[in-house]
Symmetry: C2
Subunit: 495 residues, 2 copies
């Protein structure tokens, strides 16, 4: 069992510490000793005397103050087979009169779009369709989309598609409302300015057609900033859709290979958010709550979602991949994707995601089985999962209990496993899961990468500060961090 990390264990010393902390929170400025990153008071039981000594001795450095609160925000979610057709009434209910429908060329041919168009038409709602979303969006494809929505100036948005569509719609909404903003204003620092979003956006309803990104519940939108050769995006709670309509009929059209790779994204969302550094170890504590990031670290509410989604994925993903008629497994995977979305959307992801961006971006020419495209492609879910066995072997030392709980979710009997073996056991369980799932590359070599590519992959990972800062066990100091990333990429060459 892994206890949620709420403060103060019931020992006498900690009770005294709790009282001190109460005083601390009541009378700012706060006691700096709780903010020392080398003082893990949740893992140790410091004596009150030591505490007071430290209290007297340590100077206050506000930039090192640890977080003391977390915030959970999620879109409303409606779940049910056939719920797509309700969307016309939803827009009517909120008084929307001009709706910008966002999709891509592929999804625009599917039944989900037909249901949406019928629903809007039936309620007499004016709408226009933008169907040019690029899968794995780039800044120029996002800008093209914004150039479409700005002059139309809708009073609401509707996204029908996978993560690329929903993310693009979020940014169309953002930059149509903030019409005069520079594109980089809201983009995550350091590539962009990372400004907070200070006024409400237009209503956005998202209808996912894949079971993967969970974008229908999150305030995150990801794209390639081509000039910097980097994946980045905008992340703010204000960006999240008003409502996600999760209709399992809409994911029935996914080919088996797409079920698999989207499902591996769900797997890593769950595992990474479950093992991310705890929210109360994150520095610095924001001085204004609007600056508390959505990627805030693991917390007692995200934990519930992440662990639940992990268990569901282990149970249902193999069935959804193997049997195209297993509607129960497909429905459960859509639900798991959304739950994992709430989990990582309020906690964050770390190494698998941070390392996946250069893996997909520096693809030496691999084309994944079952993807009917005319160019090389490492699907996002494949690129996150390929490092997972190595990543969780590495992170386990930060919190063996959590890693053992994750191994247990994979069906491992952990009753006799030592805590120091947590990483080995979880890494093994993940590798076995991937192999049994079938059609997965057993490491970066199978994707065509060589040892000599590792330097480039490391350089491509380093700019992912927003996720790397949540990576447990990773050094902050650059040389050490590079060494650790090298170790992870090398260990991921083959599993």
């Amino acid at each position: 069992m892994v206890a949620p990390s709420i403060r103060v264990a019931p020992s006498a010393a900690n009770r005294a510490l709790g009282l001190l902390r109460t005083v601390q929170f009541t009378h700012p400025p706060n006691c700096p000793c709780h903010s020392n990153p080398n003082h893990h008071h949740h893992h140790q039981t410091p004596s009150l005397a030591n505490h007071v000594r430290r209290h007297l001795a340590t100077p206050i450095d506000a930039s090192r103050q640890k977080e003391y609160a977390f915030e959970m925000a999620a879109s409303s979610i409606r779940f049910g087979p056939g719920a797509t057709k309700e969307v016309g009434m939803d827009f009517k209910n909120i008084g929307a009169k001009r709706v910008c429908v966002v999709t891509d060329a592929n999804v625009s041919q599917l039944d989900a779009m037909k249901q949406v168009v019928e629903g809007l038409s039936k309620e007499g709602i004016e709408f226009t369709v933008f169907d040019k979303v690029r899968v794995e969006p780039k800044d120029h494809s996002i800008k093209e989309a914004i150039a479409f929505s700005k002059p139309y100036n809708p009073d609401a948005f509707l996204a029908v598609g996978g993560g690329s569509v929903i993310d693009t719609a979020k940014l169309m909404n953002l930059y149509t409302v903030f019409r005069d903003a520079d594109f980089l204003d809201f983009v995550n620092a350091p590539l962009g300015k990372g400004l907070p979003i200070t006024k409400p956006l237009k209503p956005l309803i998202a209808v996912p057609t894949t079971a993967g990104t969970g974008s229908e519940t999150t305030g995150t939108a990801i794209f390639d900033l081509v000039s910097k050769k980097a994946k980045t995006g905008v992340a703010h709670r204000a960006l999240k859709p008003t409502l996600g309509i999760c209709d399992p009929i809409n994911t029935r059209t996914m080919p088996s290979a797409v079920h698999a790779s989207s499902g591996l994204d769900v797997l890593c969302h769950s595992l990474e958010s479950w093992t991310a550094i705890p929210f109360n170890e994150r520095v610095p504590r924001p001085t204004n709550p609007i600056n508390r990031p959505a990627y805030q670290g693991a917390n007692p509410i995200s934990d519930i979602f992440s662990l639940h989604a992990l268990r569901s994925t282990v149970k249902y993903l193999p069935r959804a991949v193997k049997d195209p008629d297993d509607f129960e497994a497909q429905s459960q995977m859509l639900l798991a994707a959304t739950l994992a979305g709430i989990g990582f959307g309020n906690a964050g992801v770390h190494l698998c995601h941070g390392m996946s961006y250069p893996i997909s971006g520096q693809n030496p020419g691999y084309k994944h089985n079952g993807y009917a495209v005319d160019h090389p492609i490492i699907p996002h879910g494949v690129s996150v999962a390929v490092t997972a066995p190595a990543v969780f072997r590495f992170t386990a030392a930060s919190n063996p209990d959590r890693h053992l709980a994750a191994a247990e979710a994979f069906g491992v009997d952990i009753s006799n496993v030592k805590r120091e073996s947590a990483g080995e056991v979880l890494g093994e369980a993940i590798a076995e899961f991937l192999i049994k799932l079938g059609d997965q590359p057993r490491g970066l070599k199978a994707l065509g990468f060589k040892s000599s590519d590792v330097d480039g992959l490391i350089e491509g990972t380093l700019p992912q500060k927003r996720v790397l800062m949540l990576a447990p066990n990773l050094s902050e100091e650059l040389t050490a961090e590079k060494d650790e990333l090298r170790q992870l990429f090398e260990a991921s060459l083959e599993y």
Copy 2:
């Protein structure tokens, strides 16, 4: 293990049924056989032939069509010791300029209010305080509060207090925005008109000072409609606060008896929402999603919250009650109250709550230990818990697996328990928990009720349609329903 009730088990017959259902949802009007309340297709495995036969033979009765979707909505939640003082910045961030602060005479003296006032003042936000909320609000106390906020016409509300305060603030917000509405317009049918809320309300931030109602996350507001001698209220997702700030420092001031009774409310929120009829057995299916009730029945997302909150309450409530210095247990109970709030706020409660209203309202003169008031009082949590042993003995037959899972949450080893004993075992576990908690009446007799009072209690329960409709195993036919309520009240006289 209890599987979330998503459609279609993986048998061949059900797979065919799943395909039929897909067609059904794609081409309305829907197959009526899924809507027949006597056809429990999740518990049986009907043959495809039977299905088609029924399909051909049964006439469509729209009012009996079962629900096919559920919707999850929750306030954003910020959790952390000391987070109260951030509220001034929150209002500044949303651009609020005139805030109506709602509290009661008792809470207005506490540190939580001091933090709030300092936070607002520091940001230069104009505010006015209404501190006359009545504990257990009545329609006239609500109307008095509305008469205060209407002329002030704030652009945001802030509630600081327990459930009564937060519920009152929700209704002040509602009727200040819908200035010309009649008070009964939005009140739950049949006592009120139950109109849907068709435009957004003003931002409301809720700062709970008790760990019980979970009102900071729900769209429900409860009060006594004096002329009808009935508890009723308004329930709509639009009513939910924008943000709940859960600061465990604010619940430290609760006396032990208040910890206990608020915690018992959490216990029953969890147990009732976990065992409520499943959303897809509810009739009728709404024709517009705005009419999908928040009290929609148990569903795969509410289940996660309800079961988690139940486990937390069993673990931490006894500690929070016994040791006023156990800040960890108190913090966990505040979190559990919020999580249970998300659970029941998206599923509903049933018999314990429905029967509690006449128990509190028809109090023969009982004054609960530890409540410093000058009049008789059966605290809400005490009045819901007193029938719990009998209620869950009665409801178990509807879903023995869920009742066994609940018993397991109380620490019972269920590995050798027969399904037909689920009710007995859970009822026993609840009774034992209440007895060990201490200072709880062992039945209605201990509250001063006699057998001759049962008729009045039944009559007081019958108007609670909104919760009774979610009660598993309860008859719809009036005479049978009365008999069952009599059986429940009589079994609750002593435990």
